[in-house]
């Protein structure tokens, strides 16, 4: 039963994430052009578009990951909870705690399952053993992995399946209690069963997190997101309710892309 037919604005009137007139340059090359978007709390937003359209670059603006790339220049505003995270006085580390990130390829640390999830807590200075244990259990349950690994928490994370590793990475992100989860093609390296588990998980996590996902899988975007944004050559071409985008997009460019007639 599809239950996404309420407008997102109706579901939650507050914008959790926002960008205003955002431009991003890699040296001379402009990768994002005047991108303005608002994403409500506790929603799933999918970014779609062809390779090189800027969707992953844009996703990484929300945890300032692009800062690490040499020659990047950004102007415009990126807001989390109505605060511009690119302002000078902002404590980037504090803001990054609000934002968890999951990548295309599962990247567990070569440590035990338990230590992978506990890692963020430990580097944040958490000392309480019971708090760490409770949080690891909570995060693994949230990531729908607990039942599969509860008896082997001290087994190496490298030894579990790819689908489990990806859910472990989600648990690791959740453990530090972010309110936002950014996912860059989280299921593209997984088999269909693991993909379904990740998608189901995203549905569940939406209750507690605001999720932004970059995906090349059109049907995945359609299945899991409340709103979809189509990017092309650094521009946000269309942003609307996912039902609208996949049944009657306003722009011909979007229609051509989602129906496979692009280019």
């Amino acid at each position: 039963m599809v239950q996404k037919n309420k407008s997102v604005k109706e579901l939650n009137p507050e914008y959790k994430l926002e960008s205003r007139g955002l431009n991003l340059f890699y040296g001379q090359k402009q990768a994002l052009k005047d991108v303005s978007i608002q994403m409500s709390a506790n929603t799933v937003t999918a970014f779609i578009g062809p390779s090189g359209c800027g969707k992953s670059t844009f996703l990484r603006c929300f945890n300032r990951m692009n800062d690490l790339i040499e020659g990047v220049k950004i102007d415009g505003e990126v807001l989390i909870d109505n605060v511009d995270i690119y302002k000078n006085e902002i404590d980037v580390y504090e803001y990054r705690k609000k934002v968890g990130m999951v990548f295309q390829k599962p990247n567990p640390f070569p440590k035990s399952i338990f230590e992978n999830v506990a890692f963020g807590l430990r580097i944040n200075g958490e000392k309480s053993k019971s708090y760490i244990e409770d949080t690891v259990e909570y995060a693994l349950k949230q990531a729908a992995l607990w039942n599969e690994v509860k008896d082997s928490l001290h087994k190496s994370a490298i030894a579990i399946s790819g689908g489990q590793q990806q859910r472990l990475c989600i648990a690791r992100a959740i453990a530090v209690k972010p309110s936002i989860l950014l996912m860059d093609e989280p299921a593209s390296a997984l088999d269909p069963l693991s993909t379904t588990k990740i998608e189901e998980l995203i549905h569940t996590l939406k209750d507690n997190y605001t999720i932004v996902i970059v995906t090349h899988n059109m049907q995945q975007a359609a299945r899991i997101s409340d709103k979809t944004a189509y990017f092309y050559m650094g521009e946000l071409i269309e942003y609307d309710l996912t039902e609208k985008i996949f049944t009657n997009p306003a722009r011909i460019e979007t229609e051509n892309y989602i129906t496979g007639r692009f280019g």
């Binding site: 009657n248 229609e255 989602i258 496979g260």
Partner: protein, 217 residues
Amino acid sequence: MIHLDRELEQLKKSTTAMWILVQSQIEKAYKALAANDKDLAREVIANEKRVNSMELKIDSDCEDLFALYSPVASDLRTVLATLKINTNLERIGDLAEGICKHILSEENAFDKELLKASDIQEMYDVVIEIMKDVLQAYIKEDTKLARTIFKKDEILNEINMLATKNITEYIGSDISKIEAGLNFLSIIRKLERVGDQITNIAEEIIFSHEAKVLKHL
């Protein structure tokens, strides 16, 4: 052209072929009525099996398209509209068959006076005209042409509304005319239903190309 385009083109060809068959069924049903040609009426009834098998094939093709291509946006609307057009065409086929069964149930030809009193000729002319127009609208993706049939369907509704009165007057006090009169009234009702089905098809054509839902307005 992507592969889906070729599949959609094939679907359109199959639907058009079914449309032409159904239209011919309606035309033959009228000829059988006007000329009391019972053999032609039997032919229409026999042909109904072909209409049914075409409906099943188009249904199955649409199912395959959903399963294999996951169509979205205009492609999705095209397949959805085709499914509904297919159902409506099959029902028109059923109605043509029903008319022919009424013709066969009458031992003699329907009285010419009854044909005249009921305006059935005009009704048939309108039905055939709108069937052809909507087929053109479908082939040429012409939503403007599809919209023109809504007014014409009203003519059918009016004739249908007056039919009870006209046929009651025809029967008058001659009790022997009752059965023929009632049989004929059923034919009129069926033609009016054909108009409704064609209107539904026109709405689907508009939905398919403009994403506008005109149903129940």
